[in-house]
C-alpha cells in the first residue's frame, strides 16, 4: 500500500514498471517463506467416522484455530478409527498399518485425539507411529494420568463429557410439574447405561426415573409414543448399528423427538437441531477451537505438559423452534444460554421495510377513513333531509291534522291541515305554542295525558276542545304514538287529530234522547200502573156509593124497606172487600213479578256500563280505570238491571269527584272473587267521600245530598242487588273518596228467576 501511495503522482511509464515489479515480488514471496519456515504437521484422529455429525464441526473448528496465526504453517490431516462401526481390534490394527504406511515420510508434530477410544489408540501406537509428537486429547472418562502426560513430547487436552445430571436439572427447572422422566441411554460399545444411572441417582428422590432399554428402533419408538403426559424424555444416546441401516445418535434423537408426546431433552451438542428442546452440552465448536489453540501453542514452542488439562466448557443450549413447539417462554431459560435456530420474525428481518409499509398503510387508512366518514356524514345528512322532505310532503297531503314532537316533549312540526284549522303559523305553534289553542277547561287534562303517556312511552288517545281559526272551540280526537329511530332509539311522538265536534254533538244529543226516553217510559209505566189500579178500584167505589145512596134514601123514607137496606149494605161490604182484593191482587201481581235471569259475565256488564257512561265521564273529565279479574265464574242476573246499578254508582262517583281538580278525577271499577265463592264488584272514586253522608239512611228512598238528586238511585240499586241475592255497601276510602261495592253469588245453574218486590218496578237514574 505504501508503494501504491508513493506512485500516485508518477508518470504513466513509471507506473507500468512499478506494477511489473510488484507482480514479480508477489510471485516470489511465498516460496521465500516456504524455504525459510517449513510446514508443521498436525494429525487429528477421530474415534468415529468422517460423516459422524459432530466430526465435521470439530474438524472445522480445529482448522480455523490452526490457521488463525499465519506465522506457523500447518498441514492438517484427519484419520478415523471407526471402532464403533467395525470390530475395535480390527479397526485399530487397520488404522495403525494405514497411518504407518501413509505418513512414513512425514514428521508428525502434534496428534489430536478426539474421544477416549481415539486417545487409547494414539497412546498405544505412540512409540511406533508418533514417537516425537505431542498429544492433545479430548477425553471423557479416562484423562491421561501424570505419567502419560510427561512421557515423550507430553500430553495435554480437554477432559469431561456430557452432563446428564445438569441437563436433567435444567429440564426439571423448566418443567417443574414433571412426575416421570424416561431416559434413553443405550450404546452397545460403551458402558454408558451404568454411567448414566450413576450420574442420575440423586434425582430419584425428585422424579420417577424410567430407563427405556430397547435395542430395536421400532420398539424404542413404540415405548416413546406410550409415554404419559406430564413426563419428560432425557435422551442420552442411542445408536443403531443394524446392518444396512446405520443411524447416528442424532438421527435417533430426531426420530425420538418426533415420536414423543412430551418434550425431549438431549445431552449432546449434536442433538440440538435434531428435535430436542435443549440440554447442558459441551459445545463441539468450542471443543474443536480449544484443541486447535492448544496445538498451536505446542507448535509455537510450549511443552504439552506445561499446558494444563482443562475441563470441557458446558453451556445450556436450546433449539428455538422446539421452545416454541412446547410453549416454553425463552425468557425462562438460564442466563448465558445459547439459543440456536432462532428465526428472525418479519420485524427483525425487514425492520425498515415493515416500518415504512406500516406508515404508508396508516396514512392511507387515515385518508380513506376520513373520506368514508365525510361521505357517510354527507349521505346521512342528505338522507335525513330527504326523509324530512318526504315526511312533510306526506303529512301536508294527509286529510287529518298531524303534529310531531321530539324527546323534549316540545312539538317541532304541524302539518298544513293543523295550521289551516288553527289559523296560526308554524312558528306560533311549535314548542308549547299549540297549547294556547286548547280550551281552558281541557288544557290540564290534555297536558296531563300527554306527559303521562310520554313518560311511559305509550300510545294515547284524548279528546279536547281546540280553538279554530274563527274562534270556535271544536272537539278534536288526538291520537299520539311514540316514534323511534331506525336503530330503535325513542325519538318523540307523532300524532293526528280529527275534528269530532259533529260526532260529539250527535253523541250528546243521542244520550240526552236516551235519558229522556227512559224517563218518559218510566213515567208511562207508572201511569199505566196507576190507571189500571184506578180502574179496578173505581168499580167497587161506584157500587159502594150507589148502594150507600140507596140506603140513605131507604132509611129516609117513612116506611123503610129494611130488607132492601140490608141487601144494599151487604153489597157495600162486598164492594169494599172487592176494593181491598183489587189492591191486594195488584200487590201480589208485583210481588210475584218474575224476570228471567241468565248467566252473566260480570266483566261484560261492567264494560257495557262504562260504554254507556262514557259520554258523561268525558264531559266531566273523569278518568275511568278498570281492574277486572280474569276467569271469574258467571253470576246469574238481569243484565239491564245490573248495568243500571253500575250506572247509578258511576253517576254517584262522577258527582262526588266534581270538587276535585280536572285531570285528577278518577273512578276505578274492579271485579274479584270473594272468599265465600261470590263475585265482588267495587266502584271507587277519589271524590268528597262519605263524611257528610248519613250512613244509616243513605240507602233509603228519597235520601239525597245533592241539590238536584231525587234520592232514588241508591235505594233502587240496593233493591236490585238484594233481589239478586247480594248486598250493596259503601265505605270511606282511607286515602279519600268512597267505594261502593256489591257482591253477587255465582251462578249455580244456567238460569233462574229472581223474586221482585213492588218497589223494584220503579227504576231509573236518580
Amino acid at each position: 500500500m505504501a508503494l501504491t501511495r508513493a506512485t500516485v503522482q508518477s508518470s504513466r511509464p513509471r507506473r507500468i514498471v512499478t506494477a511489473l515489479l510488484l507482480a514479480v515480488a508477489a510471485w516470489l514471496c511465498p516460496s521465500t517463506y516456504a524455504q525459510t519456515r517449513p510446514a508443521r504437521t498436525v494429525l487429528t484422529v477421530y474415534w468415529s467416522a468422517e460423516n459422524f455429525p459432530s466430526t465435521a464441526v470439530i474438524d472445522a473448528s480445529i482448522r480455523r484455530a490452526l490457521v488463525f496465526d499465519s506465522s506457523v504453517l500447518v498441514d492438517n490431516f484427519a484419520e478415523y478409527l471407526e471402532s464403533d462401526l467395525f470390530p475395535p481390534d480390527d479397526a485399530s490394527e487397520a488404522l495403525r498399518a494405514y497411518i504407518r504406511h501413509k505418513y512414513s515420510g512425514r514428521h508428525i508434530d502434534v496428534v489430536i485425539a478426539v474421544s477416549d477410544p481415539a486417545l487409547q489408540f494414539v497412546l498405544k501406537q505412540r512409540a511406533e507411529l508418533f514417537p516425537d509428537a505431542a498429544i492433545v486429547s479430548s477425553s471423557i472418562n479416562a484423562p491421561p494420568d501424570s505419567t502419560t502426560r510427561t512421557a515423550g513430547a507430553g500430553v495435554t487436552g480437554v477432559v469431561g463429557g456430557d452432563a446428564y445430571d445438569q441437563t436433567l436439572d435444567l429440564a426439571l427447572r423448566l418443567h417443574p410439574s414433571t412426575k416421570r422422566v424416561f431416559v434413553v441411554a443405550e450404546a452397545p460399545t460403551l458402558p454408558l447405561a451404568d454411567m448414566v444411572r450413576e450420574q442420575l441417582r440423586a434425582f430419584s428422590t425428585r422424579v420417577e426415573l424410567s430407563y427405556i432399554e430397547e435395542r430395536s428402533l421400532d420398539r424404542l419408538l413404540a415405548a416413546i409414543r406410550a409415554i404419559p403426559a406430564g413426563s419428560l424424555v432425557l435422551y442420552v444416546r442411542q445408536s443403531q448399528e443394524d446392518q444396512g441401516n446405520v443411524l447416528f445418535p442424532s438421527d435417533v434423537a430426531r426420530l425420538v423427538s418426533d415420536a414423543s408426546p412430551v418434550p425431549v431433552y438431549g445431552v449432546s451438542d449434536s442433538y440440538i437441531g435434531s428435535g430436542v428442546v435443549g440440554g447442558v452440552v459441551a459445545s463441539r465448536e468450542d471443543l474443536g477451537a480449544r484443541l486447535g489453540q492448544m496445538s498451536r501453542q505446542i507448535l509455537a514452542g510450549t511443552r504439552a505438559q506445561d499446558i494444563p488439562i482443562e475441563p470441557v466448557r458446558l453451556i445450556p443450549a436450546f433449539d428455538w423452534r422446539e421452545l416454541k413447539r412446547w410453549g416454553i417462554d425463552s425468557s425462562r431459560v438460564p442466563p448465558g444460554s445459547e439459543i440456536r435456530f432462532q428465526q428472525p420474525n418479519l420485524w427483525e428481518a425487514y425492520r425498515g421495510y415493515v416500518a415504512a409499509a406500516i406508515v404508508i398503510v396508516l396514512v392511507q387508512f387515515a385518508l380513506i377513513s376520513a373520506l368514508l366518514v365525510q361521505n357517510t356524514r354527507r349521505r346521512q345528512i342528505e338522507s335525513a333531509l330527504r326523509e324530512e322532505a318526504r315526511f312533510r310532503s306526506a303529512a301536508d297531503t294527509a286529510p287529518v291534522m298531524i303534529w310531531r314532537s321530539g324527546v323534549d316533549k316540545k312539538c317541532d312540526f304541524f302539518n298544513l291541515q293543523w295550521l289551516a284549522f288553527t289559523g296560526r303559523t308554524l312558528a306560533e305553534e311549535v314548542g308549547d305554542g299549540w297549547a294556547e289553542g286548547v280550551h281552558a277547561d281541557d288544557i290540564a287534562a290534555c297536558m296531563a295525558t300527554y306527559r303521562a303517556a310520554f313518560d311511559a312511552c305509550e300510545t294515547f288517545r284524548m279528546e279536547y276542545r281546540l280553538r279554530r281559526f274563527d274562534g270556535e272551540y271544536r272537539w278534536v280526537l288526538d291520537t299520539g304514538v311514540p316514534r323511534f329511530e331506525p336503530d330503535g332509539v325513542f325519538a318523540g311522538y307523532i300524532g293526528s287529530c280529527i275534528d269530532i265536534s259533529d260526532r260529539r254533538q250527535a253523541e250528546v244529543a243521542l244520550q240526552e234522547a236516551h235519558v229522556e226516553l227512559s224517563r218518559v217510559s218510566r213515567l208511562t209505566a207508572l201511569g199505566e200502573f196507576a190507571a189500571s189500579l184506578a180502574h179496578e178500584v173505581r168499580q167497587p167505589l161506584t157500587a159502594i156509593i150507589m148502594n150507600a145512596r140507596s140506603c140513605l134514601r131507604g132509611i129516609a123514607g117513612e116506611k123503610p124497606d129494611l130488607e132492601d137496606v140490608r141487601a144494599a149494605l151487604l153489597d157495600i161490604v162486598d164492594a169494599g172487600q172487592r176494593a181491598e182484593e183489587v189492591i191486594q191482587r195488584n200487590r201480589e201481581m208485583f210481588r210475584l213479578h218474575r224476570v228471567q235471569s241468565l248467566a252473566l259475565d260480570i266483566n261484560d256488564v261492567i264494560r257495557a256500563a262504562i260504554v254507556l257512561a262514557n259520554g258523561r265521564l268525558k264531559e266531566s273529565h273523569v278518568t275511568i280505570v278498570t281492574a277486572l279479574a280474569d276467569d271469574l265464574p258467571t253470576v246469574s242476573g238481569d243484565r239491564i238491571e245490573l248495568q243500571q246499578v253500575l250506572l247509578n254508582l258511576i253517576a254517584n262517583g262522577i258527582d262526588a269527584t266534581e270538587p276535585v281538580e280536572v285531570g285528577r278525577r278518577r273512578i276505578q271499577i274492579s271485579s274479584s272473587l270473594t272468599s265465600d265463592v261470590g263475585v265482588r264488584v267495587a266502584v271507587s272514586d277519589n271524590g268528597i267521600g262519605l263524611a257528610n253522608v248519613d250512613r244509616q239512611r243513605m240507602f233509603t228512598l228519597s235520601y239525597t245530598t245533592k241539590p238536584t238528586g231525587t234520592g232514588v238511585g241508591l235505594s233502587i240499586s240496593r233493591s236490585i242487588i238484594e233481589a239478586h241475592g247480594g248486598k250493596l255497601s259503601a265505605d270511606q276510602n282511607p286515602d279519600g273518596g268512597a267505594t261502593f261495592s256489591f257482591s253477587l253469588p255465582i251462578c249455580a245453574t244456567d238460569s233462574h228467576t229472581i223474586q221482585r218486590s213492588p218497589e223494584d218496578f220503579v227504576t231509573g237514574i236518580h
Binding site: 190507571a531 161506584t542 150507589m546 148502594n547 145512596r549 162486598d574
Partner: protein, 122 residues
C-alpha cells in the same frame, strides 16, 4: 129531576154485576123501572123499549159506544148516559164527539140523575 116525577124505563148495561145491582137499586128507589144487561149482545138479544140507557163504555166485544151507534143506525135512537172507570184521553175524546153525557166512576147519585135528565133533553 127528582124521584117524584113520572117513572122512567131505564136500561143499564155493565159487565160488573155490583155496578148493575147498585145502579138498579138506586134508580128503583127513585121509582124508575130498570132493566139490567151484562153485555151489549145480551141487550140486543132481549131488546126492550126504554126511555134512557146507561152504558158502560168498556164492555166485552161490543163497547158501549158501538152499541149506542148501532141503535141509532137501526133507527132506534135512545138517550144514552155513558159511564166509565177509565180516564184515558182518547176515550174521553171519542165520547165527547157523541155529545152525550159521560160519567166517570165513581158516580154519585145526583150526578147520575142529572145526566139522565140531560140525555133525555138532548
Amino acid at each position: 129531576m127528582t124521584g117524584r116525577q113520572s117513572p122512567l124505563t131505564v136500561v143499564v148495561v155493565d159487565d160488573d154485576e155490583r155496578i148493575r145491582r147498585a145502579i138498579g137499586r138506586l134508580l128503583r128507589s127513585h121509582g124508575h123501572i130498570v132493566h139490567v144487561f151484562d153485555s151489549a149482545e145480551a141487550y140486543l138479544a132481549g131488546e126492550c123499549r126504554a126511555d134512557c140507557a146507561i152504558l158502560d163504555i168498556e164492555l166485552p166485544n161490543i163497547s158501549g159506544l158501538e152499541l149506542s151507534e148501532r141503535l141509532r143506525a137501526n133507527g132506534r135512537p135512545m138517550p144514552v148516559v155513558f159511564i166509565t172507570a177509565h180516564d184515558e184521553l182518547h176515550i174521553l175524546a171519542a165520547v165527547q164527539q157523541t155529545r152525550r153525557p159521560l160519567l166517570k166512576k165513581p158516580i154519585d147519585e145526583q150526578e147520575l140523575l142529572d145526566a139522565i135528565a140531560r140525555a133525555m133533553n138532548n
